[in-house]
Symmetry: C2
Subunit: 378 residues, 2 copies
């Protein structure tokens, strides 16, 4: 129940343990085709160039940035958390002239400030985080996408935590490049980063005057392996791809809408339970609270590390601490993929009450659990 990796379904672990075949084996090529088809469904896109990068989410971030950016290109990076800051760092290394827009951790960006910045800096790319794992904030993208595209720029979006847990409508929102991670709401172990690139993004890549800074993440070459040519690029992480294949099957068997509703339901129940214990979310605006990543303010008098250690050691529950300026101020409770369940919500609320009691903090006994349960029954 941390900020990821999330719990993994037994069938995904079993799929990962199937015998390793070669990266050009006909069976594996079929797996790749099916992965692309399923990833397009989850990203809600028709983008041909939709596949999984052979690295974790940060590799997907770097892939999107370094393919779109050439040295000297102008880029706006929106930073309202750790991962927006990481986009800026990656872009600077790729040689971009980066303008960093900043918002305090936990807030989201207003379309008007994006419009002003785009107008001023005329960027080639605007990078923004859809679901900021470090703060639990959900960034609305519809108006921002229109602003970015009206200005002729490309929109690059971090969907690491949102994909398969809430709608990531790549085509409807005209997102040009997006990356995610296998280990959050998709419910696969970490190690792969699903990415998707629009036709406009691919045109920008084709128009590059310089080679992509990273050989490993060069979309031009990756297209030849994932496309009809099947030209050898690197040895794909075969078993990781088996696992992602099975995880995506579970996602689509459940259905995206049902999966989103499930994440929402358990978030609502957890939030109701925590409220009954006097615990508040760090994202002030409830509309901007992520369902799968619940960032809450640590109650006064509670020892951050002490509570998390007891949760782990006595109850086998991992939750995350705050990152960056939120360190020591927030806990991050994940309800991602398999972990988004009533059993986990009830277990967590009971365990948390116990751990708070151990620190002399006494919420009304059983109130959190009872409130959450009532929410489920309502």
């Amino acid at each position: 129940m941390g900020p990821g990796p999330s719990d993994i379904h037994a069938s995904v672990l079993a799929a990962m343990a199937a015998p390793t075949v070669g990266h050009l084996d006909p069976y594996f090529l079929q797996i790749m085709d099916e992965l692309q088809t399923m990833l397009r469904q989850v990203f809600q896109t028709q983008n041909q160039m939709t596949m999984a990068i052979s690295g974790t989410g940060s590799a997907g971030m770097e892939c999107c940035v370094v393919n779109l950016i050439e040295p000297g290109d102008s880029m706006i990076a929106c930073q309202n958390g750790v991962f927006g800051g990481r986009i800026a760092d990656v872009a600077v290394r790729a040689g971009a002239n980066v303008t960093k827009l900043e918002r305090p951790f936990g807030e989201v960006f207003d379309p008007a400030e994006i419009a002003a910045a785009v107008d001023q800096h005329k960027p080639k790319v605007v990078g923004i985080v859809h679901a900021e794992t470090s703060t639990g904030a959900l960034q609305p993208l519809e108006e921002i996408s229109k602003i970015v595209h009206d200005a002729g720029a490309l929109l690059l979006v971090d969907c690491v935590t949102s994909l398969a847990g809430l709608p990531v409508e790549i085509d409807k929102l005209s997102i040009d490049a997006a990356y995610s991670g296998s280990q959050k709401c998709i419910g696969c172990p970490p190690g792969l980063s699903p990415v998707t690139f629009s036709t406009k993004a691919l045109e920008a890549i084709d128009a590059r005057k310089t080679k992509v800074a990273s050989w490993y993440l060069d979309i031009g070459m990756l297209r030849n392996y994932w496309g009809a040519d099947r030209a050898y690029h690197h040895t794909a992480p075969i078993n990781m791809n088996y696992a992602l294949h099975q995880a995506l099957r579970l996602v689509l068997n459940e259905g995206l809408e049902a999966r989103f509703a499930r994440h929402r339901l358990h978030h609502e129940a957890l939030k109701t339970g925590l409220a009954a214990m006097g615990i508040k979310y760090s994202v002030a605006n409830a509309d901007h609270c992520l369902p799968m990543l619940n960032s809450v303010l640590i109650p006064d008098g509670a020892d951050d590390v002490g509570v998390r250690k007891q949760l782990l050691n006595d109850f086998g529950i991992e939750i995350g601490g705050g990152l960056g300026p939120m360190k020591g101020k927030t806990w991050r409770i994940g309800l991602m993929g398999e972990a988004a369940s009533k059993a986990n919500v009830i277990l967590f609320l009971g365990a948390l009450e116990h751990c708070l009691n151990a620190q002399g903090i006494k919420p009304s006994p059983g109130a959190g659990l009872a409130a959450a349960n009532a929410r489920y029954l309502s």
Copy 2:
């Protein structure tokens, strides 16, 4: 029996399917410590900075290059196969002034030509491939290492195919940076790239004036996660690390010397069997033939793809075709890790004879199998 991924021991697959824990979980931190200790043994080094990059071998290559190279640095890349060429490509992208030394595929470099090039170009880094997977050639490194270090340069070595199959003596050879892949002689699925950096290499990294081009592969930050700080960098591929941990246990339980001898034995038997069938190695000098990657000349009249397809479809045996200029000219037969066994050698020789017969090529019936078996019994 291709050029990798190799066959995986059941216990490694089982380890990979263990429940996924968090990347800062105390259990996982212990796995990381043990991984480092075991990797040092396999690399035969005391290098503190020895760990596994969260990507396949090419990511490890890129990691070594981009951390050592700053834009404008001089680098010599030795190309006698596909992977030496890849080093040059990666280095150019990192901004190096690359001097490419070339040798025909299948040959190795002579210390004298390296000495002349080092003398002329005064490189910061010399990159060379120890075991060229595309050609089956083994590059002796002892004299070259001395030349490179006498000139004050750093030696970067590709050990993707050699590590755990033949001696890779990092400290004895004073190699400054080396990378490998999990999926060759180590016997783990693809997805991780063991790397090691010498103190001199780390000093060069510390002395950089510019940020490393890749955020994902930045050794400065990776040191803080793999070191005592345990500072979060990226979400490690947890289950892949479980698999590597178990694979390394098997390597060290067998013992490095015994493992090298096993690879050598099955190579000798295969070679003896192939010779009895009239099939020659593409590396002319027997001293430079890799034991784990047997690159042989396709017999006159044999259809490259037809034979490989029949081996796969009728016998479940994958072998590799030639890469680059060797395409259509060579087959690459892997005897790596678990796959280096008498059963595989005998199976392959019988199956190959059958497939050659199907094409009207008739080696003396049973001669390959009999010769290999005699070699085993000698």
